[in-house]
Each structure stands twice: as C-alpha cells, then as structure tokens.
C-alpha cells in the first residue's frame, strides 16, 4: 500500500489547517455561505436533508486495517455508529456537525487519510479496479498510475473551479470492474510493442445524460500520462459549458464539440505542454510502484473443502480467482437481506479491519458496488474467515446476485433525491429471499437511483430503477439492459413507471421472464440482449 512521506503528510496537514481556518472565518461571518460552500464541498462536506454529510476519500478504494479502524472510531466519535460505503469507493457519514469537521479531518490525517476533493467542481477521488494487485487477469497493478494521478489532481491550482465535477478511473485489465467508460476520463493501462502505456477514454458518465466514453487515444506513453491528463482538463476548463449546470460535464462538451474536434484540441494542447516539462520524473512513478509490490505470498493449499454447503455457496459466489494459486480475493457483502446497501456499523468495520490484518496482509478494498474486499486470502484460511464473517452477519453469499443491490442514499438522506431508494432495495432483497428465486437467478446486477443524477448507477444496471416525483408521489421507472463492464451499455426504460409496491412486483415479473426464456448459461443480461425488450414489456404491461 502507498505510504505518505513527509511531503504528502505536510500537504494533508496544511489542508486541515486551511479548512480549520475556513470554518472559523465562516463562523465569524467573514465568509458568506455562498463563498464557503465550494470550500466545504472540496473537503467532502455536504449539507443534506437533516445534517452535514462528510465523504472521506479512499484513494482507488484501498485501505489498511488501521485506517478501517479509524473509520469505525470516527463513526462512533462524530456520527451515529455507522458509515456508508459509496459507489466511488469512498465512505460517507450522515450526521456530522460543522464545528467537529476540522477535528475529524485531523483524525483522518493522522492515519494518512483525508476528505480532499470528494465533492466540488474539481477532480474527485481516483477510482480503480477493486481487485487491483490480486486479479489473475490484470496486465499490471493499476494503482501506481492512480496514485500518480491522485497527487497530480490534489490541490491542482488550475482545476479547482471546473465547469462541473470530474471523475477519473484507472484499470489495467480487459475486464472492467470499475465502470471505466462511464467516467469523465477512463484510463486503461495497456501494452503495445512490449511497452506499457495508457488508453484514454473521455466523456463518459451517468447522470441525466448517460454516455459511454469514446476512446480518444490508444496509447499515451507512461512518461506523458500527467501531461496528457492536463491537456484533457485544460481543454475542458476552457470550453466546458458554464451556462447550465446540467450541461456542464465533459461528456456534453465532447458530444457537442464532437470527439474528433475535442481530441484535436487536446492533442494540440498536449504537444504544447510536452515542452513545458510538467510531467513528474519517471523515477517518481518507480518510487510509487515500490509501495504496490506483491506481499509475501506463500504456497499453500490450493483446493477447498466444500463439504459445508453454506460455506461452499459463499466460496462459489463471493470469492474470486487470484493471481497466486494459493490465494483468493474474498468479498464481504454489505448487502444482508433487508439491509441498507453499503452501510456498516463501527463494530462491523472493526471486525473487517481485524480480519484484514489477520488474513489479508492488513489490506482491504472498497468496491464501487458498496461491498468490501479482502484482496489476498489464503485458501487455507478461507473457512476460518468465513466462520467469523458468518457469525457477525457479514457472510451473505450474494456477490453480483439480485440481492447485491447498488442504491444511492435517496430521499432518506439526500437533498437532491425525488424518491427513496433504500426501502425499495430492502423490499426487493426481502422478496427474492422469501420466494427463493434469488438463488436461481445467477448474475443479476440491480441498481437503484432516487433521482435523475444517477448516483445509484441505474443506467448501468442489468435491471435499473429510477425514482422520480410524479405529482408529489414517489414513482419508479424500470430500466433493462445496462452494463458498467467491458461490454458497457445503457439501460432502456420499459414504459410507464410504478408505485412503491408495483416496482417490487415489476422486478419479480422481469425476473420471471428471464427464468422462462433463458438458455443454457445465459445471464439475465445475455437473455435480454438476445430476446429484446418486447417479452418483458408484454409481461409487465400486456
């Protein structure tokens, strides 16, 4: 894992001092709320329906056990004993007091963490593959590149007041586990003629106008990665729309200007910036890489005793092949039946931290699907690990199953929401557990957003649900056929929306059509793509 040196620590400490000073000036009336708002947002502090919400950055989703312990302590000390893991691999707390926020940030800084740029119209936390450094199919670990970009994007003097927020993901395998093409910039580390470089995809995103990013360059040499990123951002900062916040994301610029013209301008700016010498020395990337070297894997048992059926089911669903054949990556589901997706109590966080220390080289990951990964678990330790998780209610075997729902906080917390997401997700997971169909559906990614901003990724759900306000009543639209993976596609709306009870029935009806129509080995998404929308519409509205 990356460790701060004195420079990184100085920067984060300076940020805490700066924010403390800003809060004091706000409370003293020297800053208006309009002037203060972007400053607090750039420190992760939102004003929600009931209280301030604080979003803490987890760079590329990687956390140490010690850091997870502090996240638990923060939940107890400043909040109500729980936190919410987010679709950007971060964690947020829902009940923070403004006066407490500087102390909270000082606590974070003490364990090399922060809440910098987790909101605001700036470059946000860089996300990555949650199995980075463990996945059997990756070319290299993508995280050193993400860390290089984290440093470049932190406190960037030119890009703090962009037209709109800006999200970057970095992956390094053909399998996309980070929704890379649904980011403002998606970067895939690739190999060309024996050299590593980066393919750039620019202008993807969800929100009210979902778009899949086009590739604008096949290969940027690694010693030009920062320079190329800077060129992409400068063209956006110069020309991105500022007249309408709903048209201000880079996807709109790339769409309206055309990918070709945008690319031409980026290339022109890039050629100019190459002469400016803004790229960190390549030695810096090499320095960062040393922090991401493999831990000391040991050869051990390669097969698993599956005689315990509950354990066997969890192994089948919640563990993933590792690049070392004596290890797996194990997913801790934060989606118990009827629970709030992504929520964890402080006790659960402490337990996950202890298990990471004991069984996964003190490392865990936050997934964009709001679960936690222990990336490097010895196969020999799996049963012991599972037993501990199972006893703590963290052993739900539902990775990528219908119960593994992504849901935004919705109208229960969020000031932007039109409808509640959490109760819908709870009812759906309860329905599919009670009728037993959940276990027969296989991979089915269900994603719920409580408003058009799409924080719950509904456009990318195999089944998506979008909550809207219909004359003062919550109404839910159903969408089918989305994917955030390497076969990225945008879900399409089935037809008229449903009320709260109706949407749960509609999801079951949709699942029934799949169960009736599926052919051997087909996932829900495959069947949908083969048979199209018509049979689903017929069952839903016919």
């Amino acid at each position: 894992m990356y460790k701060y040196d004195s420079y990184d620590q100085q920067m984060v400490d300076a940020r805490v001092d700066e924010f403390r000073d800003q809060v004091e000036r706000r409370l003293a009336g020297k800053l208006t709320e309009d002037q203060f708002k972007p400053l607090r947002l750039m420190n992760g502090l939102y004003l929600q329906l009931h209280a301030y919400m604080l979003r803490v950055a987890v760079p590329y989703g990687t956390l140490s056990g010690a850091q997870m312990h502090i996240l638990a302590d923060i939940a107890d000390k400043y909040d109500r004993g729980y936190g919410h893991f987010t679709t950007r691999q971060n964690i947020q707390y829902n009940w923070i007091k403004l006066e407490d926020a500087p102390d909270l940030m000082a606590d974070l800084a003490a364990v090399e963490m922060h809440a910098i740029q987790t909101s605001g119209n700036c470059i946000r936390n860089i996300s990555s593959d949650h199995f980075a450094g463990a996945a059997a199919d990756e070319l290299v670990d993508p995280r050193p590149y993400a860390e290089l970009l984290r440093q470049w994007s932190s406190f960037h003097p030119e890009f703090m007041y962009l037209p709109r927020k800006f999200k970057i993901a970095v992956i390094a395998s053909d399998t996309d586990r980070a929704a890379m093409r649904l980011h403002d910039i998606g970067i895939q580390i690739v190999e060309q003629n024996g050299e590593l470089g980066a393919a750039f995809y620019v202008g993807g995103g969800m929100g009210r106008t979902p778009m899949i990013a086009p590739r604008i360059r096949d290969f940027v040499p690694l010693d030009q990665l920062v320079t190329y990123s800077e060129a992409c951002l400068r063209v956006y900062n110069r020309h991105g729309r500022r007249d309408n916040k709903y048209k201000a994301r880079i996807k709109i610029l790339v769409h309206e200007m055309g990918a070709e013209e945008y690319t031409r301008q980026v290339e022109e700016e890039f050629a100019h910036l190459l002469d400016e010498g803004i790229e960190p020395p390549l030695a810096e990337l090499e320095r960062i890489k040393t922090y991401f070297e493999d831990p000391a894997f040991e050869a051990g048992a390669k097969s698993i005793d599956r005689s315990d059926p509950d354990f066997a089911l969890w192994v089948e669903r919640n563990t993933v092949r590792h690049k070392h054949d004596s290890y797996v990556s194990a997913v801790i589901s934060l989606k118990p039946v009827g629970g709030i997706p992504g929520d964890a109590t402080s006790a659960q966080m402490h337990l996950m931290a202890d298990l990471a220390a004991q069984y996964s080289f003190d490392e865990c990951r936050v997934m964009h699907t709001q679960n936690i990964v222990l990336p490097h678990v010895k196969i020999a330790d799996l049963h012991t690990l599972w037993t501990a998780l199972h006893e703590a209610g963290l052993g739900e075997p539902n990775l990528d199953q219908v119960g593994d729902i992504i849901a935004c906080p919705g109208l229960d917390y969020c000031s932007l929401a039109n409808a509640r997401s959490i109760p819908i997700s709870q009812q759906i997971s309860e329905r599919f557990a009670a009728n037993g169909k959940g276990d027969t559906l296989g991979e089915l990614k269900l994603k719920i957003s409580g408003c058009i901003n799409a924080c719950g990724h509904h456009h990318a759900g195999h089944i998506g649900i979008l909550g809207v306000d219909k004359k003062g009543v919550e109404n839910y639209q159903l969408l089918l056929g989305g994917s955030e993976a390497e076969d990225a596609s945008l879900a399409k709306i089935t037809g008229p929306g449903f009320n709260e009870a109706g949407i749960v029935d509609a999801v079951e009806t949709t699942a029934d059509v799949y169960l009736r129509e599926r052919e051997d080995g087909e996932r829900f998404l495959d069947t949908y793509r083969r048979i199209g929308m018509a049979p689903f519409k017929e069952a839903l509205y016919g």
């Binding site: 920067m11 003097p157 030119e158 703090m160 500022r242 910036l273 960190p280």
Partner: protein
C-alpha cells in the same frame, strides 16, 4: 456584485491591493480583447471568461498588463487563461480582478497572477496567510518552484 459592464475599462492601479512586481503599473485604460485585436495600440487588455486567450499570443510583446476578470469566483476559466499566457512567455503584469477572494489567492498566484484587484478589499492578515498556506506543491505551476516529485528525486 458590481456589474462588470459598468466598469468596462477595468481596475485602476489604485484598486490593486496586492502586487508582486517592482515595475510601475500601466497607467492607461485597458481595452477589450476585440478592441485590442482590431485596432488598438493599447498595451493593456482585459480578458473576460469567454474570451479567447490564445488570440493574444501573437501580440504578447506589446502587452504590459492583462487583466483577467472573475465575475464570479466559481468560474475557473481565468486560471487556464493565466497559465496559457505565462506558458506562451508573457512576462507583463497579470492582474486578477472581480470576485477575487481569500481562498483562491494561492492558486491564482501559482497560475501566474502577480497582481490582485479584488472588487471588495480583502483582510490583509487573512490574505497573507492564504499566500503562505502551502509549503510545497505537487504540480508544476507558472512559478519556478520545484514540485514535490522533483524534490523527491533531486
């Protein structure tokens, strides 16, 4: 906020609150980019957020002052304008005017601004603290300071 159009000629040297230069400020009026490009022999130009900064590049030698207006502090185009000018070799005065506030000063400075004429005068102590806030920088800027990455590998 003051309507920027009510003062089309920009700030006067008297309104400059912070200046990091030793030469004498330009004492004649700034003109718009269009006016400058069309006819003017003025050596002072005022850039609005939508203006094409790059259009000035062929004429930098005869410019002594570029005033970049921030009608709202949340519109960040002026930061890129500043860097574009500095990277093109502009060495004259680069003045941030308009909705210029304490918490944007240090980034403006790093982007190449060397004078500041805030619409509303800033608290001197707060401004000094803001200019001095950051011990180091991750990114290359318009100044000659070494980045953290360069310092690590000296």
């Amino acid at each position: 906020m003051v309507d920027s159009h009510s003062n089309p000629l920009g700030s006067s040297p008297d309104e400059v609150q912070f200046r990091f230069r030793d030469d004498d400020p330009v004492d004649h009026a700034q003109v718009t980019v269009d006016a400058f490009l069309e006819q003017s022999n003025s050596s002072a130009v005022r850039l609005e957020p939508g203006d094409d900064t790059q259009a000035l590049i062929p004429h930098l030698e005869r410019i002594a002052l570029v005033e970049v207006n921030f009608p709202s502090f949340g519109d960040g185009r002026g930061y890129s304008s500043a860097r574009t000018l500095r990277e093109a070799g502009y060495t004259g005065e680069l003045r941030a005017v308009g909705d210029v506030l304490i918490d944007q000063l240090s980034n403006m400075r790093r982007c190449g601004f060397d004078s500041f004429a805030p619409e509303i005068r800033l608290d001197e102590a707060d401004a000094q603290a803001a200019f001095d806030r950051w011990p180091q920088h991750y990114q290359a800027g318009a100044d000659t300071r070494r980045t953290i990455a360069q310092l690590r590998h000296e």
